[in-house]
Subunit: 209 residues, 2 copies
C-alpha cells in the first residue's frame, strides 16, 4: 500500500485544519457516527496490542448535566488560580462546548487489562494511557475528515467523572470529548486567535545528541 | 477546507496500514526527514497550546549503543518476568529495531513549561504527556504516508534514558522511536501475526451511559 503526493498534501491540510472545537452547531450528527469513529480509533497502536481503550458514550441528559456542572466547578477553581492580567483573559475564554455539543463521550484507559500480557508496560506502565491517547488522536483526524469537530475537555476532576459515569475506579480518565459540526473552520488554534498563547518555531523543540 | 470521499477512504487505508515497525532496511532516509516529520507533529493539539514536546534526535554512535544496551537489559528483565508458555513465546518476539534503524529519536514532555500558562492541566497534569503522545501520533501517520516505518520502544528505564541522553531530569520520557524503510508492509500488527495477542471486536470497548 503506497500513498501519493496528492494524499500527502491533503493529509498535511488535515493536520493544519484539525482543531480543538468548543463552538458547535446544535444539529445532530448522523446516526452511529461515534461508533464509526471509535472503529477507526481502534486501528491505533497499543502497547503489546493491549487495546486498553474504553469509550463511554454519554447520552443520558442527567449525566450530561452533571458533567457540565463538574466542568463549571473546575473551571471556576482554575479561574481563581490566575492572578493579574491573566484572570480576566482566562475568564473570557470558551473552553468547552459541553452545553451545546450534540454528541459526547468520555474515554478511559484500563491499566489492568490482561490483553497484551503486560508486554511493553513493565518499565513504563503509563503506556496504557498513551495507547488510548493515540486512539483519540486517530479519531480526531477521522472526525475532521468528515467535517466533524472534536474538543477535548480536561478541566474536570477524574475521580468525580468516574463517579458520575459509574465506571470502575481503577480506570484512568483520559478526557471528555465533545463532537458536532463546528460553527466555523479555522487553520489556527482558538487559544492563539484569542491571544492566550502562540505557536513557537519548531526548532525550539528539537535537540541533538 | 473540506475533504472528499476519496481522501477519507485513503485516510482509512493509512490507519489500517500504519504499523509499529521493528524490521527496518538499513538504507538511510532522505536528509532532514526527521525534521520534516517533527514539523508535522507540531501541528498536533496540545493542552493550553503548551507545546510541551521535546524531540531529541539521536545520531551519536556511542549514545545509540548505550540505548541499545539499555533496551537489551530491560528486555532480559521482562523475559524473566514471564512464566510457563509465555516465556519462550516472548523470547521469540522482535520488539525493537534499534540495531538497524537508520534514524532514531527520543521524545520527552516538559511538564514545567510556562507555555499555555497551565491552562487545562490543573486537575489533569498528565495532559502535558498526553499532548506529546498526540504529536507522536501525527508523526506516525505522516511517516507512513511517506512509506517510512516507525517503531515505539517502551522497554527502557526512563531515568536511565534521561541519563544517557543528558536531558533535564524533570522531563518525562514518552518513548524512543526508530525510523526507516520497513522490510515489508502489513495490514496487521506484528504481535497479532506472531500470535501474541489478537485484536478484539470494537463493541467490547464501548459502554453507554
Amino acid at each position: 500500500m503506497t500513498f501519493d503526493d496528492g494524499f500527502r498534501a491533503a493529509l498535511r491540510e488535515l493536520l493544519v485544519w484539525r482543531r480543538d472545537v468548543r463552538r458547535f452547531r446544535s444539529d445532530p450528527l448522523p446516526p452511529a457516527t461515534l461508533e464509526r469513529l471509535i472503529e477507526l480509533a481502534c486501528l491505533a497502536p497499543s502497547v503489546g496490542l493491549s487495546q486498553p481503550w474504553r469509550f463511554v458514550i454519554v447520552d443520558d441528559p442527567a449525566r450530561r448535566r452533571a458533567m457540565l456542572e463538574e466542568f463549571k466547578s473546575c473551571n471556576e477553581d482554575a479561574l481563581k488560580s490566575y492572578t493579574g492580567g491573566l484572570a480576566p483573559r482566562y475568564a473570557e475564554l470558551k473552553l468547552a462546548g459541553m452545553a451545546e455539543a450534540p454528541a459526547q463521550m468520555a474515554v478511559f484507559a484500563d491499566p489492568a487489562t490482561g490483553l497484551g500480557h503486560g508486554l511493553g508496560r513493565r518499565t513504563m506502565p503509563e503506556m496504557a494511557e498513551y495507547s488510548v491517547v493515540a486512539a483519540v488522536s486517530m479519531m480526531w483526524l477521522a472526525a475532521r475528515a468528515e467535517g466533524i469537530g472534536m474538543g477535548w475537555v480536561s478541566i474536570l476532576d477524574p475521580a468525580r467523572v468516574a463517579g458520575i459515569l459509574e465506571v470502575p475506579s481503577a480506570w484512568r480518565f483520559i478526557g471528555y470529548f465533545c463532537f458536532g459540526y463546528p460553527q466555523a473552520e479555522y487553520d489556527a488554534p482558538e487559544l492563539e486567535r484569542a491571544g492566550w498563547e502562540r505557536r513557537h518555531e519548531v526548532e525550539n523543540f528539537i535537540l541533538r545528541r
